[in-house]
Symmetry: C2
Subunit: 227 residues, 2 copies
């Protein structure tokens, strides 16, 4: 299944990069789409792209890209709070802000939980195995919430400028924003498809799983079979 | 795993019914949330709720609830086109309308494909087995798109009435709409969790699968082993 996989992967990257370029008009949307949509999506995708590389390396890469996504997301949030303060606009009144903030907070929690459970395993292997499907599900939910929040933000932005340029007259700005919205939806669909299809999954490797459980021990130089 | 299943199922129903009640202020949002969110969600859920009932009956119920959802969705779309014509508002210019219309069109295609492949199987059993995961994935995508479109519509509605009642002043109408938006997101998350967890899946039944493939033949009164 290499050919369709490459096609879908390539499509996801074209959709993602185009979306990031189209939001380049302003720091807040640029950071949110680059961080919480494109990088979050690609961080999830590393398990599919590098499915034959050692799992430990892929895990570290997954964590680093997510950290980068989180930092860029926080820069984007700070940018909009600064803009609100200067323009004397109240914060956190809209559905966009509620959904966006919920996404960022849950993203932070997900990242810390992932770090504790999978990179520095403080939990037992039973607890980790139970948490893994929840972590995977929550990751996909967060990607969808980030895309949804972006679309809400774009609708807000378009309707705020309704007095200068009526959105309902099919202005180029409005149509371009709609196209960007559809591209983001398509990015989410392609990513979701790649992530959930069984045939693109990382093949299970019992030996690696066993090593992976003891990653903390390994990095400390002790025996993999140690406590 | 009956106890958490019942809890999640109950939660999904409370969230869904509350969302429908909260949108009762206007025909368009009422129909879209009742049809394409609540009923679509529940139509998907029948495979989990009735997982010990004969598959054929569950399939028919799944198709009927989806048909009801589709009819209610079309009533909702017609209502907003009528409203636009009377108020001389252009159609289909906003991201909400693009996403909403895409959802309805894809929903129709999904319903017809489901009917052809699974209720009146014109496709071979190999083709049906290949299409099933795509059908399941598209169903979940359509539910998410319906929820996303609803949130976009609510943001539009709130910003259109910005001159009468500024949304940014935390008016009760604005806060209530935000709460409805969050309820819809929660409904989607709980549904998504119920649908994707392995332990809530319908247990496989090879005998039933074999009968199911020949459902068309069975309903025509011929032998299940016939062509």
């Amino acid at each position: 299944m290499i050919a369709p996989w490459c096609g879908f992967r390539g499509t996801s990257q074209v959709l993602g990069v185009t979306s990031v370029v189209l939001t380049g008009f302003n720091l807040h949307p640029l950071c949110m789409v680059l961080g919480l949509v494109f990088l979050q999506g690609d961080a999830i995708l590393v398990y599919r792209v590098f499915r034959n590389e050692p799992k430990r390396n892929v895990k570290v890469l997954h964590g680093i890209i997510h950290l980068l996504a989180l930092i860029i997301g926080i820069i984007g949030i700070v940018a909009v709070f600064d803009f609100h303060r200067e323009a004397k606009i109240p914060d956190m009144y809209s559905l966009h802000s509620w959904c966006g903030m919920a996404t960022l907070i849950l993203f932070c929690i997900q990242w810390v939980m992932g770090l504790l459970f999978f990179l520095f395993p403080v939990a037992s292997s039973w607890l980790r195995a139970s948490y893994l499907p929840v972590h995977v599900f929550c990751g996909l939910v967060l990607l969808v919430m980030a895309i949804g929040s972006s679309l809400l933000g774009m609708t807000e932005k378009l309707l705020f400028s309704i007095i200068r340029q009526p959105y309902s007259l099919f202005t180029p700005e409005g149509v371009l924003a709609n196209v960007l919205g559809i591209l983001l939806v398509c990015f989410g669909i392609v990513l979701g498809y790649l992530i959930t299809r069984e045939e693109y999954r990382r093949p299970p490797n019992p030996e690696e799983e066993s090593l992976s459980v003891h990653f903390k021990t390994l990095t400390e130089g002790a025996s993999p079979t140690g406590p």
